[in-house]
Amino acid sequence: MPHLLGFLAKRLFWMAATLWVVFTVSFFLMRSIPGGPYSNERNLPPEIERKFMEKFGLDKPLAEQYFEHLSRTLRGDLGPSFKLADYGVNRVLAEGLPKSAALGSLALVFALVLGLVAGLVSAVRRGGWLDHGLMVLATVGIALPNFVIAAVLILIFVITWPVLPAAGWGGARNLLLPAFCLGAPFAAYIARLTRTGMLEVLGQDYIRTARAKGLSEARVLLVHALKGGLLPVVSFLGPAVAGILTGSLVIEKIFFIPGIGTHFVQSALNRDYTLAMGCVLLYTALVYLMNLLVDVCYTVLDPRVRLD
């Protein structure tokens, strides 16, 4: 256990360092714009611009701004949004996060369930037409961008055969299509990884032993083989979560889901720097934490792997 604590401390330190680098780079990029964030607004009288600058503390020296901003961020306050009046970045993110989280976790569930089932079936029916078909499908799923998949599925399930709502945020039915589109490429990856992992494991001695003991095929596959075959999938989960977060930018835009992805893209288009920076920091922290979680899970599943 103390080993685990040390590991966590080390990783959290690196996470803090990464966040600090991202913060600093973003801050100075933001401030390197000549004329300030309001210089491009049309019809903004200079006195009003001055008031704005005062309100956001942009009239102070750069170093003072930096430390003020840094200490405020450390206290967990990401500041006011430049463009959305009366909205703090915290509030925008707090409203968006649950929606994005619901979409992302459903996508991950889709990816895992579909990927594992497809991979298992493929491995069991190795060389058969089902195996070939599934693997071709997986290749297609990996190659296609998720908005192409979304376009095709919208044409089918919303327009031609209207069983699902086109867009918006509301019930679970609204989430089905976007979550599937978001999870599909990762389901494809997971299917490939599961197939390879299972094939490797199925050739090993302990599987033969399990069969020789007279265990049922289902038990051999699902209890004995799956645990070993799952390892590559678990190590893929870190990148998969990062990829799902990235993909949600596009999917939220297509399906008009008001999550953080939509806010991030909007803030980038509106040049709302504080909001954009808040999103970047949040995404960085999320990706880092997910990777940490995956690493810890990995050592639980495979005792040969040490934390370090």
Binding site: N40, K253, A276
Partner: protein
């Protein structure tokens, strides 16, 4: 050994000369040719690149010409008419401009189409897809080249130097790996767009140039790791030692033994990077953060098409063709990458 006279030695040498070992590349070519899907994909990509390269010569409508009277026309098989004008290509100069001049001399003001229908502003979709292909393929190639140069130099240097420098350089890569670059790049692009004039004045970088550079700089990390690993593992391998024992000079070892082995890995990784870079470009352009009008790219066209989806009228061509172009190209690139990997490094199969 004493029974062998000079004639016999001569005969043995003659025999050895006749036997040619299969080189790495010949072997790889043979294996690649056996890979049906990869062969087909490669042909498709070559044809597509050819088509995109010579798009200015083809008798289609200008990609940016807006005709609101011709909105959302479905695909038409045969449709020849007059009305093309060289003036609809304001930005075209250099080679593209000369190709357009040549096209004017061949076809006059004739134009064919719209074989793939028109979009929400009455522009010929086929022409837009072809011109968009020029941009998308170019981004794929140039940005990958940027990542190749940075990654290979960094990785090779790290591998060759070894020791402290290797540790330091790889630790930097580790830290950079942890940063979710896509988000940082979006932030970067937001800022860069604001300062476009400044950048152009000080560094002479156009909007497109910045875009290529930024995308390329995201994808060098893995390349650096791959090259470093390869250099490290090759440096002490038996066949390098054997070559040295046989008296091969350092340049010979470097160019005959080390480089071909690194090149094969780099080439495989390169072909797998191109689709990822193109995907990233499409992703950014789809969000409205990448290529900007009047330039066209496939990501942008896909976003346009999806934006026009509505339950009242279905403009299927507007959604289908751009997605098909992008999807087929990415799929083909993936197949070629897989085929090359299997051909150049059969041990990596099934991974």
């Amino acid at each position: 050994m004493e029974g062998r006279g000079p004639e016999e030695l001569e005969r043995l040498l003659e025999e050895a000369r006749k036997v040619r070992g299969n080189s790495l590349w010949k072997d790889a070519m043979r294996r690649f040719r056996r890979h049906g899907a990869a062969r087909f994909a490669l042909r498709f990509l070559l044809a597509l690149s050819f088509l995109c390269l010579f798009t200015p010569l083809l008798p289609f409508a200008p990609p940016a010409r807006v005709r609101l009277s011709e909105q959302f026309q479905p695909p038409k098989a045969v449709f020849v008419r007059h009305g093309w004008s060289r003036g609809d290509y304001p930005g075209a100069s250099g080679l593209t401009g000369r190709m357009l001049d040549l096209r004017e001399r061949i076809f006059g003001d004739l134009e064919f189409g719209p074989w793939m229908g028109t979009d929400s502003k009455g522009r010929c979709l086929m022409s837009r897809i072809l011109w968009g292909g020029r941009v998308s393929l170019m981004v794929g190639l140039v940005a990958t080249l940027v990542s190749l140069i940075v990654g290979v130099v960094y990785g090779a240097l790290s591998g060759f130097l070894g020791g402290f420098w290797d540790d330091l350089m790889m630790r930097i890569v580790d830290v950079l790996y942890a940063v979710p670059f896509i988000f940082v790049v979006i932030f970067l692009i937001t800022v860069i767009r604001e300062n476009q004039e400044v950048l152009e004045a000080t560094f002479g970088l156009t909007r497109m140039g910045v875009f290529f550079l930024v995308i390329g700089l995201v994808y060098w990390l893995t390349m650096a790791r791959v090259v470093r690993g390869q250099v490290l593992s090759l440096k002490n391998r038996e066949f390098i030692e054997a070559a040295r024992v046989l008296g091969a000079s350092t340049p010979r070892i470097l160019f005959r033994h080390l480089v071909p082995n690194v090149v094969s890995v780099v080439l495989v990784y390169l072909t797998l990077t191109i689709p990822r870079v193109m995907l990233f470009e499409a992703f950014l352009s789809f969000l409205g953060l990448g290529v900007e009008a009047p330039d066209v790219s496939w990501g942008m066209l896909a976003a346009d098409g999806l934006g026009a989806v509505n339950p009242v009228r279905v403009y299927w061509w507007f959604v289908l063709f751009p997605s098909l172009a992008l999807g087929a190209t990415l799929l083909a690139l993936n197949f070629v990458g897989d085929g090359l990997r299997d051909a150049l490094d059969p041990r990596l199969r099934e991974r």
